[in-house]
Each structure stands twice: as C-alpha cells, then as structure tokens.
C-alpha cells in the first residue's frame, strides 16, 4: 500500500478494496497507526478505536471476498466527532464535566455506517459542548486547541475541530461532524476540506449531544464534494428516535440535477469588502471559475433580519434547558473557557417571550428564503472572511479591527441558513499565506444534489482540494 491512499477519495479506496489491491485489515492498520501517531499532535484525537475497527475489518474483508457489496463506503475507515455516542465507550462532548460519560446506545449515524461496512477508527476532538455558550479561546476543549495541519500555530476551526483536521492531515478518509451554526462550514474552510451541512432533519441526531434541538445537524467532512454525497446517502434517512427527523432519505444522483448552464447562483459583490484583503484574490478567482462552469451568477440581497440576535437567542434558550443539570451541580465552571461558562449561565435569563419571538421570526426567515430561491437556484459566498486565526488570539474579533463595508451582503449567511434549516457546503477555493480559503454554497431545503453538482464541477476545474499539508 502506498502513502497516496491517505489522501485518496472514498470511491478510489472502495474500488481498490474491491480489486484486492489491499485488504480492509491492512487499510485500517495503516490509517489507525497514522491517526494514533499524528492525531495527538493536532489535538484531533479524543479516543482511538483501532482495535475494534480491526476486528470489524476482518468481517468486511470476508464480505468483499464473497462480493457481498453493501455500499460506497464499505471497507472505508472514518472518524466521528466526540458528541456521537458509541456504546460502551466514553463520549466526552469535548468537556471536562462529561469526561467519563458512557452511553449504552450507539448513535444512529454510526450504526448506519457500521451496517454498510464502514469502520469507526476513532472519536475526534471538538470544542466543549460544541461551543454553544459562545467561546473566546481556541483552547475551549477537553483536548486543547484544535491545531490546523497547515500551520499548527493556527486554529482548526470549531466546533468540529478534530474531524476537519483529521481529514486534512490524511488521518481518516472522512469524518462526521455537526453544525448548529457554522461548526462544519468553519473548520472545513480553515482546514481546506469539503464539509456538507445537510438540511435540518435529513440526518438523524439520535445519540448525538443536543445543543439546540431546532438547529442541530450531523454532516460529513471529506476530501471531495462527491465523497460528501456518498457519505450523506449512507447516513441520511427517517428515524423515529429523532423527533426532528424529516422522514426523508437522500440519494446521491448528480446525473439528475439541473445542468450548470441552466443554474442561477446568487452572490453579493460587497462580500469582497468583508473579506480580509489577503483572501480576495482567491475569492475573485473562485467566482471566475464558477462563471466558467456556465452557471449564471446574479447579484442578490440576503433577507434583512437581525441574524446574530436571532441565532444567539435560539441557541442560548435551548442550550440553557439542555444543560440545566450542569448549572445545578456547578460543573459548568469546570469548562475550559470562562467566557463559554459565563454565557451558558447568563442564557438562563433569556425570557420565554424572547425565545418565542425568535422562533416566530424563523417562520418569516423561511418565507424570505423561499422567495429568494424563486429567483436563484443557489447562493454563493466566502465560507469565512479570512484564513484560520492564530490560536494565541481571542476568537471574539477583539484581536483585529472589523471592516465596515457598505452593505451586509452575505456576511451572515451561516446563521441565516442555519435558522432556515438550509443545506450548505464549504470547499477549498484557494490559499492565502499558505492557508486554505473556503467558498460556501447554500441551497433550498433537500437540494443537496444541486450543491454537490456545482461543488464537484468546481473541483473538476481546480486542484485546491487535492493539496494536503506536510505531516508534523
């Protein structure tokens, strides 16, 4: 087995397994050794599970030998954010108060991947409690700051820090993360991987840490958009154990999506004013590439709502209820980031009327997005306004002056799309100062295939997603 396998896409690994170029056992051994050696160097590994994966790999090899094929991820190892329960093993939620927590049930998404022959190689680190309180430091995690494989003085992003850095560093072929507002899109952008936030309700959250019941989503972080489609097909579907389940499945079928030449993609020219000057050339080039696909880019305006106040109110009120016992025991003060603990406690004072007002506003938000998507198929915007920040800097924007652009543009697309439950994808579109720059697409609910088609076409025309960092 050659080292290129560590950065190969899922379809390639699966094909090579079927051709018996290597066995699943050999593959798990190789990735397991790499994850256990390099994972701690990026603070990416929460719990190694190589031994269990090796046992499972033997039976997968038997199935492959009998040509009993279970799906596109069969035989492919993966990692999972440590907010997904794996029966009988610690699930820490990245937080000291839950460091010894063990569940006796396995999360639906992990069970689905196991059923189709994928192998859980390890639990990956995360920002404590998925950052629900609003954290100020990259070090807001039981495992320390998530380090960026492109530059370990930089942050991997949050809250799915481990999944993004492990995929970027070639420690796992893909990983599962979660997003309440930005926790897949942000680390995917900072680490230079492709991350998909599914439509709310498309993927079961049963067995996942709740942070905000009406916002939480589970999604894949992968090397390519195509890989995201393959994983989403496996993990999506109705689940009576998840009250938020939409009762829908996803079939990765890019061939049936509308042609790019028939697509209209909305963008805001003012977004470039929000972006750090160093990433503007990459963003300009990315928009040029999108135009070259034949898609029609048209200027649009994001609906006008107080996005930050709305999402903070919803997350704050729901998380205050979720973590009520943490306040009662006083263990909230064991969190690594005092700012996060303070915000979680303060959220107890959010009035019911304010929460309900935010939830009523979400109906208007959804209506506004439906109207917007009558004119365009998708929206495109920078995934983040800059490259990964230094871990020595506070994350609350006090380290550098904020720009004052002439209009909001799509600056608030992450909270806006999350409030509306819309799917999004972040993929690498260039580099600045040696660090990845990400572009995000957002589409109507349950139109993941359209997002994947555009991102895949972009990746056919560029090689940003094929670049990978040197191991530390």
């Amino acid at each position: 087995m050659t080292d290129d396998v560590f950065f190969a896409p899922i379809s390639d690994i699966n094909a090579r397994l079927k051709k018996r170029e290597f066995s699943t056992v050999e593959l798990v051994k190789a990735f397991g050794a790499r994850l256990e050696t390099l994972g701690p160097k990026y603070n990416a590994l929460a719990l190694p599970l190589t031994k269990i994966a090796l046992e499972r790999a033997k039976s997968v090899d038997g199935e492959l030998k009998r040509e009993r094929y279970r799906g596109p991820t069969q035989g492919v190892p993966f990692g999972a954010k440590d907010l997904l329960s794996f029966a009988g093993h610690p699930t820490t939620w990245g937080a000291k108060p839950y460091a010894t927590q063990v569940f006796n049930e396995t999360a639906t998404v992990l069970q689905k991947l196991d059923d189709t022959g994928s192998l859980l190689l390890g639990k990956l680190s995360m920002v404590e409690l998925a950052g629900g309180g609003g954290y100020r430091m990259a070090g807001a995690s039981l495992t320390g700051p998530g380090l960026n494989p492109w530059d370990i003085t930089r942050w991997a992003g949050g809250s799915s820090s481990g999944p993004a850095s492990a995929v970027a560093a070639g420690l796992v072929p893909f990983a599962l993360g979660s997003e309440t507002s930005g926790s897949i899109i942000t680390p995917a952008a900072f680490c230079g991987v492709t991350g998909l936030r599914p439509t709310y309700g498309l993927v079961s959250r049963h067995g996942a840490m709740p942070l905000s019941w009406t916002l939480d989503k589970i999604g894949p972080l992968c090397r390519t958009a195509e890989d995201c489609g393959l994983v989403l097909q496996v993990i999506s579907g109705a689940d009576s154990n998840d009250p938020g389940s939409a009762g829908k499945s996803f079939y990765y079928a890019p061939q049936f999506s509308r042609k790019l030449t028939e697509m209209k993609i909305g963008f805001a020219a003012v977004d470039v004013e929000w972006a750090d000057p160093e990433i503007r050339p990459a963003l300009d080039a990315a928009i040029k590439t999108l135009r070259e696909t034949g898609a029609n880019l048209v200027e649009v305006k994001l609906p006008d709502f107080p996005w930050s106040a709305l999402i903070s109110t919803v997350i704050g009120a729901e998380s205050a209820s979720v973590f009520e016992s943490l306040f009662a025991t006083g263990q909230v003060d064991e969190l690594a980031d005092p700012s996060q603990a303070a915000h979680l406690k303060a959220n107890l004072a959010i009035p019911a009327t304010q929460y309900l007002k935010a939830m009523r506003a979400r109906i208007l938000v959804q209506k506004a997005f439906r109207e917007l998507f009558e004119d365009v198929d998708l929206l495109v915007a920078p995934a983040r306004c800059g490259v990964a920040p230094k871990i020595s800097e506070p994350l609350d924007g006090t380290a550098s002056p904020q720009p004052q652009p002439s209009a909001p543009g799509m600056h608030s697309l992450i909270p806006a799309a999350n409030l509306a439950g819309l799917p999004g994808i972040s993929f690498p579109c260039g580099f600045a100062s040696g660090l990845p720059v990400g572009l995000q697409l957002v589409g109507p609910a349950f139109r993941e295939n359209a997002l994947l088609v555009v991102a895949t076409e972009f990746q056919k025309r560029t090689d940003w997603h094929k670049r990978h960092p040197l191991a530390v």
Binding site: M137, T214, S308, L310, S339, A346, A349, P351, I363
Partner: protein, 44 residues
C-alpha cells in the same frame, strides 16, 4: 509545542450579560405579525 493562549476576557459574566441585553434590545425592535406561530409544531 508550547502554545500561547489568549487571556480570558476581563469580566466574562459582565460580557455575557451585555451580550444578552444587546440581543434582547435588538429583538425588541423586530416586528412580527400576530398571526405568526413559532417554528415548531406540537403533534398530538
């Protein structure tokens, strides 16, 4: 590798309460039609 970490905010509790108040003030200005129900459904 030794890492420098940012100093905690001077008064995280005050910052949290200020943030909460700012959100409350912002949403107080938001007008919503009386007929708009919240974005969740109770199912009997």
């Amino acid at each position: 590798m030794a890492q420098t970490i940012p100093a905690p905010a001077p008064d995280p509790d005050k910052q949290a309460h200020d943030d909460l108040q700012r959100n409350a003030d912002t949403l107080a200005k938001l007008s919503i039609p009386m007929s708009t129900e919240p974005a969740f459904q109770f199912k009997a």
